[in-house]
């Protein structure tokens, strides 16, 4: 397919690998923020072809992974209501809550449906006026425009039986939390290309400057990933620390301003709890006051559900790039893709799932 296949050309991949090899003289720790990029690196075997001086650490950019357990428990409580149709992106259904997952709710008779676009959830609400339709609005800046539009549509069409369980998180505050931590090892970032397609990258130059880290906006195909990595290595080797764009075909500095306007009209900045990391101030979005009537947490009175996370799962350290999945004692043992303990093993973007799928030697030796 156009804009994909030409970025998978093995000759260009090999050249870029050699360019990286000749550019690197010291050891560098570089984090790819987005879990989609983690999977793309491992799926294509690129991590194994990089020079040994480069250590890739995997970032928190997996919305399913960072959604805290209590938010899953709130979703389970809502989805268990007999008059509720609970709608969600497919990834969330297998994420374990304290006692079960959304699939289990469905097996027990709950009406839990996977939607591709949040607009489908609004249509389901319109078609089922006697039911309460709730959409699990999770994600980073990439899903926010779609989720915001669903709320806006419900308001414009005066659909009263629609609400959203919001768990939106943002990338820049997470980067700052990682960089500001005493245990931080990250020296350079590959910024998530599709987050930047929406938000642009005007938030990144101040971070690059403050923490002296290169930040390179990077795409998802092998050539994109290596091109981003090459740019980061060149900056590190020459002592530069700026925000630059290596995903020009999809990302503009200012991003998609129309999407940003809609996000700002529906959501407002709020503190968010991240799984295994804790509360990061002003790190996400919640519904703004004009849209409170669509808040499922209030409608179903689940605001006071709080949950302790499993002590066995080291998701927090994984998501901050402090540990790799095979360093978790439960990895491949108590925690597998068939029976996951934590969200990073469930999601198609989770680092544990990527290692479980593509690095089987990590399990079997």
């Amino acid at each position: 397919m156009k804009y994909l296949d030409e970025y998978r050309d093995p000759i260009k991949v090999k050249t870029l690998l050699r360019e990286i090899e000749s550019a690197v003289t010291k050891n560098w720790v570089i984090m790819e923020i987005c879990g989609g990029q983690t999977h793309a690196f491992l799926h294509n075997g690129l991590d194994a072809m990089l020079p040994p001086q480069i250590e890739l650490v995997h970032g928190p950019g997996c919305p399913v992974c960072v959604t805290p357990l209590e938010q899953i428990d709130r979703a389970l409580a809502i989805a268990s209501h007999p008059d509720v149709i609970f709608t969600s992106y497919g990834d969330m259904l297998r994420v374990p809550g304290s006692s079960k997952d959304l699939f289990a709710v469905r097996a027990q008779g709950g009406d839990v449906r996977i939607v591709y676009s949040p607009l489908e959830a609004v249509q389901i609400a319109e078609a089922n006026p006697d039911k309460q339709v709730v959409f699990f609005a999770i994600g980073f800046e990439t899903t926010a425009p779609a989720n915001a539009m669903a709320v806006l549509q419900a308001k414009n069409k005066n659909i009263k039986n629609f609400s959203v369980l919001v768990s939106h998180v943002r990338v820049p505050p997470a980067m700052e939390a990682i960089l500001g931590s005493k245990t931080n090892r990250v020296q350079g970032f590959l910024a998530a290309g599709h987050v930047c397609a929406v938000m642009g990258f005007h938030e990144y130059p101040p971070i690059a400057e403050k923490y002296r880290v290169p930040i390179v906006v990077t795409g998802f195909e092998p050539i994109d990933l290596l091109n981003g990595l090459l740019a980061a290595v060149k900056q590190l080797e020459s002592g530069q620390a700026v925000a630059e764009n290596q995903y020009q075909r999809a990302v503009k500095f200012e991003g998609n301003e129309s999407a940003q306007r809609t996000i700002r009209s529906v959501f407002q900045s709020t503190d968010r709890k991240w799984r295994g990391i804790g509360v990061i101030p002003q790190s996400g979005w919640g519904l703004s006051p004009e849209f409170q009537e669509f808040d499922a947490e209030r409608r179903f009175d689940v605001e006071n559900i709080f949950t302790q996370e499993s002590s066995l799962c080291i998701a927090g350290e994984i998501l901050q790039g402090l540990k790799k999945p095979p360093q978790c004692p439960a990895f491949g043992k108590q925690c597998t893709q068939q029976s996951p303990l934590g969200a990073p093993m469930v999601s198609a973007e989770g680092a544990c799932a990527a290692y479980y799928r593509y690095h089987r030697e990590a399990i079997y030796g």
Binding site: K2, T143, N256
Partner: protein, 81 residues
């Protein structure tokens, strides 16, 4: 979840007062909302994510990136290894 895929806009129409499109992903057609890329035209490629076009693909920039890397490849070929 952030895996946007570029697709070709095959048809543009309006639904529930939103600009929508039928988008072709190499033979698979899906509906996407163009509310955030109102300038989109039939034949253009858009990056589609959870049913929304979040940016239009920039053909010039795409070619430029490939050209720069091709230059690296050509340069390598000239240097005896």
């Amino acid at each position: 979840m952030c895996l946007g895929i570029p697709g070709k806009i095959a048809e543009i129409y309006e639904k529930d007062s939103l600009k929508m499109a039928k988008v072709d992903f190499g033979g698979i057609a899906k509906e996407a909302c163009l509310a955030y890329t109102p300038e989109a035209e039939v034949g253009q490629y858009a990056l589609i994510h959870v049913g929304f076009a979040i940016s239009l693909m920039d053909e010039e920039e795409a070619q430029e990136t490939l050209k720069l890397i091709q230059e690296m490849v050509d340069l390598e070929d000239e240097i005896p290894r």
